[in-house]
């Protein structure tokens, strides 16, 4: 416990120091890199709630990322630039889309669930492609980052970085509480043995759906941050390979562990960063790494440090 808290504290302190170190080294690139890692960590964290803790293999998680991105992009294109409008609307939109997709998908299980979530996210992808007004296939650039107020200017890369860091920390704490609370135990119970859960009196469907919506909304926040980060709206963010990448991050880092998703996002994106300098086929290396992790560390990288009961 002590060692783990210490490691976590060190990681947070390290992340908080990134902009200072980057400035000292005159390498602003690091702020961008770690900002991106943290945004994807939020997406992975949200998927981990349903995949890792709830055992729901959703293969369309990028859809909610996309809903967050498009909501901010579309509002911005129509001159609504305030974060206080954009963000709540974007979160509500991703929650609603998750509610609709979840309500249908959760009536199935196993391979059918995987396929139906994949199908829904591909529908949204093609919806994005068909939105010619908002760039269609090519996407469109975001005129400006969301306006939070003169005291917090997101156009400043360092300010934006700290907003992302705070968001990641808040979601980490929320997730940590949730999975140990009554709701989280129901989720884990469903993963372990759904039939038994029903037999002891849990209406499992509504708990799964609630988790699905929470995860969708949380991923919508990742979308909000991502579109502000890249200043770019594109259906590419909803492509099924993106859903696959988020899933790989979760599995790499450790399903059903608290720090796993962030760890997975970091390793995934750092590998990409380092290896793509040598070859565009960097996933040739990622593949074997993933296989080794899946075979020898069932609970991912985090499982090597974190001893926690399912």
């Amino acid at each position: 416990m002590g060692v783990r808290s210490l490691a976590l504290g060190a990681a947070v302190a390290g992340l908080a120091l990134v902009p200072l170190i980057a400035r000292a080294l005159d390498a602003p690139f690091y702020v961008t890199l770690f900002g991106r890692i943290m945004i994807w960590a939020i997406a992975a964290l949200s998927l981990n709630l349903i995949l890792g803790y709830g055992g729901m293999v959703s293969f369309g998680h990028a859809a909610y990322l996309g809903v967050g991105i498009y909501t901010v992009g579309i509002l911005s294109a129509h001159g609504v630039g305030s974060a206080f409008v954009q963000w709540p609307v974007a979160v509500a939109a991703s929650a609603l889309v998750a509610l609709a997709i979840g309500a249908v998908s959760l009536r199935t299980s196993g391979v059918y669930f995987i396929m139906i979530t994949l199908a829904f996210s591909q529908m949204l992808y093609f919806l994005g492609v068909s939105l010619k007004m908002y760039g269609g296939d090519d996407g469109m650039t975001l005129a400006a980052r969301s306006r939070l107020g003169s005291w917090l200017d997101l156009e400043d890369g360092v300010v934006f970085y700290y907003v992302v860091l705070v968001a990641l920390l808040v979601f980490h704490v929320l997730a940590a509480r949730l999975v140990s609370a009554r709701f989280g135990l129901v989720l884990r119970g469903v993963r372990g043995n759904e039939r038994r859960m029903r037999a002891i009196g849990f209406p499992t469907y509504r708990y799964k759906l609630a988790a699905f919506v929470i995860a969708g909304a949380m991923c919508g926040v990742a979308g909000i941050l991502l579109v502000n980060f890249t200043k770019y709206v594109s259906p590419g963010f909803m492509h099924w390979t993106r859903s696959g990448e988020i899933m790989v991050m979760v599995i790499l880092g450790g399903m059903g562990t608290l720090v796993g998703p962030a760890l997975g996002a970091a390793v995934f994106l750092l590998l990409e960063e380092v290896l793509s300098g040598y070859t565009e086929h960097w996933q040739l290396v990622l593949g074997p790494v993933l296989i080794v992790i899946v075979l020898f560390a069932r609970r991912g990288l985090a499982g090597l440090f974190e001893r926690e009961q399912a």
Binding site: F183, V186, Q309
Partner: protein, 252 residues
């Protein structure tokens, strides 16, 4: 005595196979009603229908005077109908106490709580410990359930059903795979449970059935061929022919 559970004309088919054929039976409060029959007689299918996992094709199930035929499993559990499983069905990665506390949680209001640590909630842990004590697993509370010995896992099955504070328990072969010693302990446990609960017991161990049952119903190919007090069943010619004779010869 009042009948807690009553079925009438219960029928279920899978394709051309008749699994449950016009079954009528009842279980009273404070009674152990055993259902026996050769393999494939439809005992587990019957339990699945009573518990709400399978919908019958025809017939009614009444629990405590209320028609529950179309009620889903979790709502029947809320009304006080609990079940245990033939193949041990526990949360293997949870501790023993977590398993039972989850069953308590299912019956203590909504679980839409996102902040407080449920593992430190005495309103869940205390009743769970009591249920564990009732089945003799009090000192195994902190063990991971998957690490329990087989007999203990069967006891945990009962504790989880018990923790939902049921009025009637559907027990699907609680002694499955148990050795003699564990089996005897289970018989004592079930005898104790009779007070305050109705028990519907599906069991292959005939010694246990005749030691425990107040009434026995014999099922063959989904059909009730006899029902009555143990002495009557033991001497029933059709039963001996259809079932007990076979079991006796198998044992010899």
């Amino acid at each position: 005595m009042t009948a807690l559970l009553v079925t009438e004309h219960l029928s279920k088919q899978f394709g051309g196979v008749i699994a449950t054929d016009d079954v009528g039976l009842s279980v009273n409060d404070g009674e152990i009603h055993a259902v026996i029959g050769p393999n494939g007689a439809g005992k587990t299918t019957l339990i699945a229908q009573l518990a709400g996992e399978l919908a019958p094709d025809a017939g009614t199930i009444r629990f405590d005077g209320r028609d529950v035929t179309r009620l889903p499993a979790h709502e029947r559990s809320r009304l006080g109908l609990a079940r245990s499983f033939q193949v041990t069905s526990i949360f293997r990665n949870f501790t023993v106490l977590d398993n039972v506390a989850l069953a308590v949680q299912a019956h203590s209001g909504s679980s839409f709580h996102f902040w407080r640590n449920a593992r430190r909630d005495p309103t869940l842990r205390e009743p769970a410990r009591a249920a564990l004590a009732a089945v003799g697993l009090a000192d195994r509370a902190e063990i991971v359930a998957g690490d329990l010995a087989h007999g203990e896992q069967r006891q945990l099955e009962i504790a989880m059903a018990l923790a939902t504070r049921p009025r009637l328990m559907l027990l699907d072969e609680p002694m499955a795979g148990m050795g003699r010693e564990d089996g005897e302990r289970m018989v004592e446990l079930l005898r104790g449970l009779k007070h305050g609960h109705g028990l519907l017991l599906v069991e292959h161990d005939m010694d246990a059935v005749f030691a425990l049952a107040d009434r026995i119903t014999v099922l063959v190919y989904g059909r009730v061929i006899a029902s009555g007090r143990p002495e009557a069943i033991r001497n029933d010619a059709r039963v001996i022919e259809a079932y007990l004779g076979e079991a006796e010869s198998a044992r010899a």
